[in-house]
Amino acid sequence: MSVSEQTAMAPTGSAPDADDHIAHDAAAPAHHTSTGLSNEKLGMWLFLGSECLLFGGLISAFLLYRSKDVEGMTGPAVGDLYDIPFTSVSSFVLLMSSLTMVLSLSAIQRADHRRARTWMLTTAMLGASFVAGQVYEFTAFVREGLGYTTNLQSSAFYTLTGFHGVHVTIGILMLVSLFVMSLRGRLSAEKTETVEIVGLYWHFVDIVWIIIFTLIYLIPA
């Protein structure tokens, strides 16, 4: 029996050695961890689980202060300034960026690096369009007299949507980094999981917006 055959038959939970790494590289799905799963991927899921608590808190704070009857409220109400057609287009753009992200992952899993890079860049550009739309929205609101400290409602709104915008921006930076890594040939077949993990983050940002769009923009106060 050859060395590679022996290593391929090694139990999943065994201590990794040099030969194990060879076997691992040859068959990417095998992970030498106590769970048999990728620790990096599990870590990302744990992080996303904890992010639910962060965004849950911010959404709850806005729901609490969205009423126009809050005592001592000054300035315009956020709900009176929404531009629903514009935000709908932004939401659609972010939703479609999830499609391009998953197409990028699919391409890199087929070792089609050129197509993967194209979809990666498309995703980053769609994300940048969304952030640009958010900046435009914030600017329009400020011109209407709704600043960050105008009232509790505006503080909660800017904090929630601003945090989301920062998450999208971080996602764009990660996508651009992956694009550069791929261009330099550093995104080998064994590292497709990196794209998958960044993809998980990106889709999470998308599902947070799905909730924000409905609860904050569409459901009337």
Binding site: L37, L48, G56, S98, M101
Partner: protein, 119 residues
């Protein structure tokens, strides 16, 4: 002696095959094709369009508006998580980890909001 070695090797191969099958089941099933992903995105686009239309026919929908929007939101959320994030195909452990965080967040914040008049 030679027969014994062959029997041992056959057993090892069988064990490896069983382990590989268990590993495949543990890691999850094959992911959808690109065509499936485009189909899923179309469903999401249609749901988003319906949400926006619901917003403009608020008066006609009356009390149904909020439940309708909530259902569409949950369906969109589930589609992205199950198909684009591959929870439908990956290990159950990932689902458990994510759902734990989600359920904890919903429980904590709905519980907190119930102590206020916010709607």
């Amino acid at each position: 002696m030679s027969d014994q070695t062959l029997t041992g090797e056959a057993q090892q191969e069988h064990e490896a095959q069983t382990e590989h099958e268990a590993q495949t089941e543990h890691e999850g099933r094959a992911h959808p094709s690109d065509r499936n992903y485009v189909g899923i995105a179309l469903i999401l686009a249609v749901l988003t369009a319906l949400e926006v239309v619901s917003f403009y026919v608020e008066e006609q929908l009356g009390a149904l508006l909020v439940p309708a929007l909530m259902i569409m939101m949950i369906v969109k959320f589930a589609i992205v998580v199950m198909w684009f994030m591959h929870l439908r195909f990956d290990s159950n452990l990932f689902t458990r980890v994510f759902v734990s965080g989600l359920v904890l967040a919903i429980t904590v914040y709905v519980g907190a909001l119930m102590t206020f008049r916010f709607w």
